[in-house]
């Protein structure tokens, strides 16, 4: 039972992590919490629904379309909303308010287009379980976990080992100096929105496979946001650890205490952590000496 819950928890945490890393990346560059980020998961999930039911594409292709859908809308939000607000020199609060507005627009729009009905992918998803020791583990959980692991490892590699990742970290650290040194700040920000949006798309498709697709599913973004705060806003590894912690905690609370207390515990963990370590688990700042 314990092992089974642990795997489920990590698999849920993985979905949170895919979104939480997006919050962290964008926060690290622009110092604002992109409240519309959860909706990119919802948009990705619906894109996959449309591709698999209307276009009748095979599932792998529909899933890829979902990822692309999340990425595209995320990019468009940056290009036509956030970038303009930044150019006007408005305070970051305006970005956050715009993001909240966008989030609402996306939710209402999907409600109008797709109605509030719960939808599922027209494919036989693996419902079987595998027996490991005395525990039964859902194949879907394992698949979701593997996909998440591969995607997150690719992300960490990209951030730490490529010139793109280096440039992004340089902008996050000191945007002015990065610009003077010839880093294309706006184009890198746009790429990060594409990246974050595609991660959200992956999360949306996986979430939709597990819990169906519905207009308010983007609210899972709130959990991911909590996870990224727990991990330390702006830190990608922090977001992953925070997400895993949150996923496992929620699953255990649901299993051993009560599923109606799940969110109570999530927020309690956030509040306690903010009291004890306001910068989050990985939010250690190296002090500037200059």
């Amino acid at each position: 039972m314990f092992f089974q819950q642990l795997i489920t928890g990590i698999s849920v945490g993985g979905i949170y992590a895919l979104l939480a890393t997006g919050y962290s990346l964008i926060y690290s560059l622009l110092d604002f919490s992109n409240w519309s980020h959860g909706e990119f998961a919802m948009i990705g999930a619906y894109t996959a629904i449309v591709f698999s039911t209307v276009v009748k594409a095979p599932f792998a292709l529909a899933a890829l379309a979902g990822v692309a859908g999340g990425a595209l809308v995320s990019f468009l939000c940056e290009r036509f909303a956030y970038r303009r607000i930044r150019r006007n020199g408005a305070p970051n609060m305006f970005l956050m308010i715009a993001a909240m507005g966008l989030s609402n627009v996306f939710q209402q729009a999907s409600n109008l287009i797709f109605t509030g009905q719960y939808r599922s992918y027209p494919f036989q998803l693996p419902v079987s379980t595998v027996k490991v020791g005395s525990a039964y583990i859902g194949v879907l959980d394992v698949v979701s976990l593997l996909i998440t692991a591969v995607v997150l490892m690719a992300l960490i590699y990209m951030i730490n080992k490529t010139q793109f990742g280096l440039n992004v970290r340089a902008i996050a650290n000191n945007a002015g100096a990065a610009k003077v040194l010839g880093i294309k700040v706006d184009s890198n920000i746009a790429k990060v929105f594409l990246l974050a949006g595609s991660l959200a798309g992956v999360a949306g498709v996986l979430y939709g496979m597990k819990y169906n697709v519905f207009p308010t599913m983007g609210n899972v973004g709130l959990k991911a946001f909590i996870a990224s705060v727990i991990g330390g806003l702006g830190s990608v590894p922090g977001a992953i650890v925070g997400a895993m912690l949150l996923g496992v905690l929620e699953t255990f609370v649901s299993a051993y205490i009560s599923s109606s207390l799940r969110d109570f515990f999530s927020f309690a963990l956030l509040i306690v952590l903010l009291l004890v370590k306001p910068s989050g688990l990985f939010g250690v700042d190296v002090q500037d000496k200059a």
Binding site: A170, N174, G176, G182, D288, K289, A290
Partner: protein, 236 residues
């Protein structure tokens, strides 16, 4: 020697305040040119105009015979690189990563490791601290890192904004030694400084600015001898 940078009659303003009122100067290949002046003389404004951070309201700035681009990354690609005031190193990146950011726009990636070794040769201290975060270095080491980061971009002209600011005298001397050293290897240098004495000692040519204008120019030696000039405009 051919002209690298040519600034002709440049004016610039903050709001209604004229920060530059017709500044002209030039930097030739292989030269060290110092731009001196007290606080508020317009030195940093001039640098901001050259590096496309600020718009000019009149006059022209040419680099290698062409008007400068208004995109900072194109300037860096062409070989006009800045070592900004206050170092501005990346505190949360390691020393090595700071250097790799500097080399980010280069097309000849295969030569980057070789240049990295060369830079470590000039600054052995940075090699020792390769894996440490930039923010953990001392002020002098951070200045060295900022210079090294600039060198990694393979500039034709390197512009220094107040490199001696906030450094201990012995470290200042080291910084000027390094500037001389990289100039000896063929890189042109433009040096914006308040520390006139030190700058004039190494400069081939110098300009003295006051309230947005060039009020005197000459070789470093000439200006060094002319003590009235230096004390009148630089208040030393």
């Amino acid at each position: 020697m051919s002209e690298l940078l040519k600034v002709t009659d440049v004016t610039a303003a903050y709001g209604g305040i004229h920060a530059l009122q017709g500044v002209s100067l030039k930097v030739d290949e292989g030269e060290i040119v110092a731009v001196l002046g007290a606080n508020g003389a317009g030195k940093s404004t001039l640098l901001k105009c050259i590096s496309a951070i600020m718009k000019v309201t009149g006059g022209t700035i040419e680099f290698m015979g062409e008007p400068i681009s208004n995109k900072p990354y194109e300037l860096v690609e062409k070989g006009l690189v800045q070592v900004p005031e206050g170092r501005q190193i990346f505190a949360k990146l390691t020393v090595e990563e700071n250097l790799r950011v500097g080399a980010g726009l280069r097309k000849d990636k295969e030569n980057v490791p070789k240049d990295m070794e060369r830079v470590y040769g000039i600054f052995p201290r940075l090699k020792e601290r390769e894996k440490q975060y930039g923010g953990l270095l001392s002020g002098g080491e951070q200045q060295m890192l900022a210079i090294a980061r600039g060198i990694m971009a393979k500039p034709k002209l390197m512009m220094f904004d107040e490199p001696s600011l906030g450094l201990a005298p012995v470290v200042v001397s080291q910084v000027f030694e390094v500037i001389k050293e990289i100039n000896a290897e063929g890189m042109a240098i433009m040096l914006i400084e308040q520390n006139a004495q030190k700058a004039l000692e190494i400069a081939h040519h110098a300009y003295i600015m006051q309230t947005g204008k060039v009020v005197a120019s000459g070789t470093g030696e000439e200006l060094l001898k002319d003590e009235t000039m230096v004390s009148a405009y630089l208040g030393e």
